[in-house]
């Protein structure tokens, strides 16, 4: 079958991506710390034949001001690997992608953790490599403040290589070699002796080789160094873009970089975010969206916007006026640019921008009927803007349930999405190349 199929990720988040989701009358407010909720949601994604579920991460509370933090469900969450290990043994096909930082962990511990997730899931693990751009995280790790962007990526480059070497340290069939008298075949072990600028690692992982060769590597870099790291090491990239033109530009840019590293165009899947709000009719979808928007306190919405603009505070500016000029940032430049562009393009005030942003943090929002949502996705998929999408339901479980029962069959009818899983590993379902056997 030569049909090209889109890849789908379900970006999970407690009660929903919408900042006020937990206040919705249907919402299970403690969802974020309820493992049964997450297992149920993961199974919905699996029923919808999603390639993967995805869990974001920050190793800190996201808001410094306790009064604002106390109004956001995002202030607390499961640690992603613990969460996915639990989900792994309660699902069978869906991929499991956890975010983990190269700035606040070490290669051995991280590689070992993902190897464990990969074994627990039978080859469905993925690592979203992030370099962590927040001051609040840096303050939890004794480091002398947040490292500059370039240093974060220098460390990330070395980190990724050390982790890959560790995963390749054990070949298939190392344990109980055929006909052997030994527990492990030493000729199949390749101890790592890494002595780099940032890390020293001597040893092997106590694990079997991954059923998918290695865990899947995911990235969401938007800067030049970020996109280069992705082009060199990642199997999947996530992105945030509003317009089709932005998405196409990002797509072309990342794909162009693959050649530099001797990789083919299909070796890296570009999966921008989409926040779908689906209703049987357009009016119903819009009503669902309005029902969520009602619950956003202005202060919470503006604080979220400020955090993505990488500014301390916007409260000095009139809420109904435009965004002020923004200083250059060491943090997340790309999202800042996206917000500034959106404000200018649509002539939005700070309040309007904040309310818009609160739905999906700058990701593309589509409000409509199943066929309108499918049209929008299909268009970007066919026009060189995406290989698939990271689906960010505003509300869980109902938003994902809507997508799976209404939009997925529509995509399947159009022949742009799988009807059955191709295999049991994430690598197989994504259709990305296997690493050599180590």
């Amino acid at each position: 079958m030569s049909e090209r199929h889109m890849k789908l990720g379900a970006f999970l988040m407690a009660g929903g991506h919408h900042i006020a989701a937990w206040r919705h009358p249907d919402a299970h407010a403690p969802a974020g710390s309820d493992i049964d909720h997450f297992i149920a949601v993961a199974r919905i994604a699996e029923r919808g034949k999603f390639d993967m579920i995805f869990i974001e991460d920050a190793a800190a509370i996201r808001e410094r001001n306790p009064d604002l933090a106390s109004q956001a469900a995002r202030s607390t969450a499961f640690e992603p690997l613990s969460l996915l290990a639990a989900i792994a043994v309660n699902t069978s096909h869906v991929g499991l992608v956890a975010t983990a930082s190269t700035s606040y962990t070490e290669p051995y511990g991280l590689a070992r953790s993902f190897a464990a997730l990969d074994q627990l899931s039978g080859g469905r693990a993925g690592w979203n490599l992030v370099t962590s751009a927040s001051e609040l995280e840096a303050e939890n790790f004794a480091s002398s403040g947040l490292r500059p962007h370039s240093q974060r990526y220098e460390r990330a480059e070395e980190f990724a290589d050390a982790a890959l070497a560790l995963w390749d340290g054990v070949e298939d069939g190392t344990y109980f070699p055929a006909g052997g008298e030994t527990f492990a075949d030493h000729s199949k072990l390749h101890p790592v002796h890494w002595h780099g600028k940032h890390f020293a690692v001597d040893g092997i992982l106590e694990s079997q080789r991954s059923p998918q060769g290695r865990p899947i590597m995911v990235q969401a870099g938007a800067s030049d160094v970020g996109k280069d790291l992705a082009a060199r090491t990642a199997d999947v990239v996530f992105a945030a873009s509003q317009t089709k033109a932005e998405a196409q530009a990002y797509y072309a840019d990342v794909k162009l970089r693959l050649g530099k590293y001797g990789r083919g165009q299909d070796d890296l899947k570009v999966m921008p975010g989409i926040s779908p709000i689906v209703g049987a009719t357009e009016e119903e979808a819009k009503a669902k969206y309005r029902a969520l928007q009602e619950f956003i306190p202005d202060a919470v919405g503006v604080a979220l916007l400020a955090s993505y603009l990488s500014v301390q505070d916007l409260s000095a500016y009139p809420l109904d006026g435009p965004l002020p000029e923004m200083p250059q940032t060491n943090l997340i430049q790309s999202r800042q640019q996206l917000i500034v562009d959106l404000g200018k393009r649509e002539g939005l005030s700070i309040r309007e921008l904040a309310r818009h942003f609160a739905g999906a943090r700058g990701h593309w929002q589509v409000v409509g009927t199943p066929s309108q949502v499918a049209d929008a996705m299909e268009e970007r998929f066919l026009d060189g803007a995406a290989d698939g999408f990271n689906v960010m339901a505003p509300l869980f479980p109902s938003g994902l349930e809507d997508f799976v029962t209404l939009v997925v069959p529509e995509l399947q009818r159009r022949g742009v999405f799988r009807k059955e899983y191709e295999g049991r590993t994430l690598r197989r379902n994504l259709g990305v190349a296997s690493p050599s056997k180590g």
Binding site: I35, Q119, L189, E206
Partner: protein
């Protein structure tokens, strides 16, 4: 009597794999089968000892579980729903913020059944001390009743019940707060493994004290020393549970006794005998040494099954094993829920 089960793929005997040459034993399902059997037999906790933090350099061990233990614990917790799960993690191998999150998350996944076996730094006792205090302070980031989920008022938690550690010590600097909800059992249970040597950290912070000695005399000495140290640290005997490592070699019958007769290279007190004899010895040892229970290190899976199938029912007949309905590990161990420092008027800091 408290009972723990130390998990390995084939048994603690380094030769055990030769009698069970099956790669499936390394997998999750086989490990879960062992844990489920221990749970059904009424065990209070499973121990994931993780070579006590020693990382393999160029060899694989048949007595090590080939999964990172905190993640294995999380997976097990969703499939075995009563037994406590104590996982080892080294203070040298994790940043305290990351470790505090792992165990806080594990406690949510397991609904209050998690314990941390503290494996402190070899070198520096000062860092280990500070580290455990930081982790405890992070677990105290929220009070028991902080999460109010008030939809109408838009309050997810009560901000006056959040505490930021702002820790600045000789070794560590950690701001806080932890970004995980308060643990269902207040805090995960703190376990320590004790042989010889420095026990100050365990005496000050430990709740489940796992005692390891090869002889009864050695065990008596460690237990007495620990009780003194705990009291010297200003705590009560009832604040800790003493549990000794036991290696059971269960004979099928009196005739079969001593058939093997090997001294196994496993750290713990080896007990050879029929189920009745082993039950006698456990009972005697608990009384003589003032122990609350035992961690079983089965030398092979078969011995593990015999212990569960023959010794545990014998202990039950003697009324030594209650039918425990408690939900959290802390409750099973009979340990008090920690009082949040804010509730006793103290500042939360480490």
């Amino acid at each position: 009597m408290l009972l723990g089960y130390s998990l390995t793929p084939f048994g603690h005997d380094p030769d055990a794999w030769t009698k069970a040459r099956d790669r499936r034993r390394l997998g999750f399902d086989a490990l879960l089968d062992q844990v489920a059997a221990a749970e059904a037999a009424g065990f209070d906790f499973v121990l994931l000892a993780d070579r006590l933090g020693v990382r393999p350099v160029d060899d694989l061990s048949s007595v090590a579980v080939p999964f990172e233990p905190t993640l294995l614990a999380s997976a097990l917790a969703t499939r075995a729903d009563r037994i406590g799960i104590v996982a080892a993690a080294s203070t040298a191998q994790h940043e305290p913020y990351n470790l505090a999150r792992r165990f806080a998350s594990l406690d949510l996944v397991s609904k209050g059944r998690a314990g941390w076996l503290v494996v402190p730094d070899d070198g520096d006792a000062g860092r280990g001390n500070e580290y455990v205090d930081v982790v405890t302070a992070l677990w105290d980031s929220f009070e028991d009743d902080a999460f109010i989920y008030d939809k109408a008022a838009g309050r997810f938690f009560d901000p006056s019940k959040m505490h930021v550690a702002h820790h600045q010590g000789a070794y560590l600097a950690v701001r806080g707060p932890l970004n995980v909800n308060r643990s269902p059992q207040g805090r995960p249970v703190l376990a320590h493994l004790l042989e010889e040597g420095d026990d100050a950290l365990a005496a000050r912070t430990g709740e489940l004290l796992l005692l390891q000695a090869d002889t009864v005399e050695g065990l008596v000495a460690i237990a007495a020393r620990m009780i003194r140290s705990v009291e010297a640290a200003g705590r009560r005997r009832s604040d800790v549970r003493l549990v000794a490592n036991i290696v059971p070699v269960v004979a099928e019958s009196e005739q079969a006794l001593g058939e093997d007769g090997r001294i196994l290279p496993i750290a713990g007190i080896q007990m050879d005998g029929t189920p009745e004899m082993i039950a006698d010895r456990l009972q005697e040892l608990a009384t003589a040494t003032d122990l609350e229970g035992f961690t079983i290190l089965p030398p092979s899976l078969e011995m593990g099954q015999r212990f569960l199938g023959d010794v545990v029912p014998e202990l039950g007949r003697r009324g030594l094993i209650g039918s425990r309905r408690q939900e959290t590990l802390r409750d099973r161990l009979g340990l008090a829920q920690p009082v949040h420092p804010a509730a006793s008027g103290k500042e939360v800091s480490a």
